[in-house]
Amino acid sequence: MDSSTADATLADVASEEHIHSLDPSIRTVWMLKMAVFAVFLFLPALFYDLTQLFSPNSWLPFGVLSGTVLVGASIYCLAWPRLRHRAWGFALRPEEIYIEHGVLRHVRTIVPLRRIQHIDVSQDLIEREFSLGRLVVHTAGSRSSDVVIPGLPLSEAEHIRDEIKRFILEDPLIEDPV
């Protein structure tokens, strides 16, 4: 069993078939959040355009700046969440969490379950509307000390949390956290 499972890891790590994707409604959540950000970008541009409306030697015709920002931001808001959702995938395996994400920068991460220090399920205002939860896994690592899986149905996030908790409680090896 020992060697076979150890060998299986390699295949596991590379295999693409068991990857679970995020709940599709996370796209809407991301879109809303980005829209808020885009509005903050758009308003100053609009303000600038309005103040330049009656100035004779404006270097830009009216509406170009705010229009560009508006178009760019909408494309970003519409396309980016989809791309991000497509890039996201995770799998909970008997001894580890496997995560891959990133649109421009692909990141693949393995968090061994026995390295988890504690684990939270959190939810912000928008996520609550869609009854989504976010799984936050804390490890002692320095750069990736918080590993976040967003956009899980709340019940599923809680289920994963409980699974991991049970694994840690049943771990026969007791050792110092660090």
Binding site: D2, G102, V107, I110, V111, G141, S142, I160, D176, V178
Partner: protein, 567 residues
């Protein structure tokens, strides 16, 4: 209250002396004579059950520390004592007397600490009472620090650090030096008890063995090898506060020879530039020596059972412990100068200790290769790989492009805005000449490639990196935390990946990362490293329980997407 016994003689605090007496006291196993109120009913060694105050001199030092603020308040008054428009200053001074001084007093009297066999309790706060208890078994390090003033009065600052925290958990500022050492001894003896049971606790602590020390000559030498412009920058920024020209003028006037040299230099711009560089190098070199002397004077490292203890410093003496188990990684560091003469620095990566050093603790600041390796072997068996795997050659190209792009971005605005009246050597704006650096960038990229390597061995992951500072990390398998492989959009075009094994307490600036591995190789390494980790733990579990697996039933094991809720 004990009166402060002045101990101006530094030799009275000789580390070897203190290390030698510690085990002797331990073996006596009687309630320590230093503990002010030994509780006869308690069988434990020297628990400090009565709440203790800090050393009375703390009061004086705190008032002293608050004086600069008073001076700032009084500054207008002092500058122009005859003016009558300093009511504000006077009022503030009175307020200082009414509020700040009593606050210091109150703080002092409301602060207390005690040590029970289970925990260290620190009570503090004037209005908000804080009652902090630190469980003894969580204490990882007790650091005793003495700055110059503290050494004059024989008092010390005790910092208590725990496993989970990234900063100091409790700080006793100041207690008498003897009490500080007593606290450390008591905590350690309690820890032994909780960890190994009563029987073990009876055994006397293993004697301290000095592993490494640095005579003065060595410290000076190590400083000489550590040329750093950083210190220079600090010096110049401090000089900014004064009037450098007036200072220089005075120097120049006082010496007519200097005056002539100065004139000759200033008349020729090329000479001026060279002179500036030479002066900067000399200053940087000297400041490096001075900084090293202050930091590592009297450096000593000794092994006590399963703990390393270090002590160092010229003005501020720092004393700390590093449990061997808590060493997260070994770091060998050198620079081209040191390397040419075979000198190395050995550091260990720990968690939550000495945050000012980014989790790195220096174990040997400066020693020859074989000495360093022998020392490293005492901390953790180390098996230096004969050959390091190289990353992809494409990394040279990638780095070169990146550096050139950065250079262009920096120079472009300068070229665009360069006024026509400023110098135009060779008929072009001066910043254009910045592109003369491009060949150097290529060389830099090449050096980075040549110095970058990795090796996976049974004992851990070895990573080598750096041009100005050569780093070699050993990350033991049992200290692997999170594994990640990343590929940026540019890396994907060239089919490259970056591999990173996270450890606890890794620095944010220079960390072990294998950049630009060929993607398939990175994936293979990623798998190998994780398999190593998994196998190690399987073996450990098997050793402990006889079965290499978790106790969970097969269908109870965490698994998704095939879990019940996934569809």
């Amino acid at each position: 209250m004990p009166s402060p016994p002045p101990e101006p003689d530094p030799s009275a605090q000789d580390p070897s002396d203190d290390a030698g007496t510690a085990p002797a006291d331990e073996s006596a196993s009687t309630p320590s004579e230093d503990a002010p109120s030994p509780d006869p009913s308690s069988s434990t060694l020297g628990a400090i059950r009565e709440p203790q105050r800090l050393h009375p001199l703390t009061l004086l030092l705190r008032v002293g520390a608050s004086l600069p603020a008073l001076l700032i308040v009084l500054f207008p008054l002092l500058q122009n004592p005859n003016s009558s428009e300093h009511v504000v200053s006077i009022v503030l001074t009175v307020l200082y007397g009414v509020f700040a001084l009593p606050a210091i007093l109150l703080q002092y009297f409301r602060f207390s600490y005690r040590i029970t066999p289970k925990q260290i309790v620190i009570q503090s706060g004037v209005f908000n009472r804080k009652n902090r208890s630190i469980p003894i078994e969580r204490v990882q390090n007790i650091q005793i620090e003495q700055n110059l003033v503290a050494r004059l009065f024989g008092i010390a600052k005790v910092q208590i650090e725990t496993a989970g925290s990234t900063s100091t958990e409790g700080s006793l500022e100041y207690v008498q030096l003897e009490s500080a050492q007593e606290i450390r001894r008591i905590v350690r003896s309690f820890q032994h008890r909780t960890a190994e049971g009563e029987a073990e606790a009876e055994q006397e602590e293993p004697t301290a063995e000095t592993l490494f020390d640095m005579p003065l000559r060595r410290v000076l030498l190590s400083g000489a090898f550590r040329f750093s412009l950083l210190y220079l920058a600090v010096i110049f920024s401090v000089l900014q506060l004064f009037d450098p020209e007036a200072l220089a003028d005075q120097l120049m006037l006082s010496r007519s020879v200097m005056d002539r040299i100065g004139e000759a230099v200033l008349s020729n711009p090329a000479l001026a530039i060279i002179a500036t560089i030479v002066v900067a190098i000399i200053l940087g070199w000297i400041s490096g020596i001075v900084v090293h002397l202050a930091r590592y004077y009297g450096f000593q490292l000794w092994l006590e059972g399963d703990k390393l203890r270090t002590r160092r410093g010229l003005f501020t003496v720092k004393e700390g412990t590093i449990p061997l188990k808590k060493v997260q990684a070994l770091i060998l560091r050198t620079n081209p100068f040191m390397c040419a003469f075979g000198w190395y620095e050995l550091k260990v990566q720990t968690v939550g200790l000495d945050v000012d050093e980014q989790g790195h603790r220096v174990i040997a600041p400066f020693a020859k290769t074989d000495r360093i390796l022998a020392l490293a072997n005492r901390v953790r068996p180390l098996d230096l790989p004969e050959a390091f795997g190289r990353v992809s050659r494409l990394t040279i190209r990638r780095r070169f492009f990146r550096y050139t792009a950065v250079l262009t971005i920096m120079l472009a605005p300068a070229i665009y805005f360069w006024p026509a009246t400023w110098i135009h050597p060779g008929g072009v704006a001066f910043p254009w000449w910045g592109f003369g650096l491009v060949p150097f960038l290529l060389g830099w990229a090449l050096l980075q490639y040549r110095n970058h390597g990795y090796a996976t061995q049974d004992d851990g992951f070895y990573i080598r990196r750096g041009v100005v500072s050569h780093y070699l990390w050993l990350i033991p398998v049992e200290k692997f935390h999170v594994f990640s492989a990343t590929a940026s959009i540019f890396q994907r075009r060239l089919d490259l990946k970056t591999l990173f094994v996270d450890t606890a307490g890794a620095a944010t600036f220079a960390y072990p990362e294998v950049i630009d591995l060929p993607a398939d190789e990175a994936d293979a390494q990623f798998g190998t490293l994780y398999t190593q980790f998994k196998t190690l733990y399987r073996n450990r579990i098997e050793e402990a329980t006889g079965d290499p697996d978790t106790r969970l039933d097969v269908e109870d094991r965490p698994r998704l997407p095939t879990g019940p809720l996934a569809d």
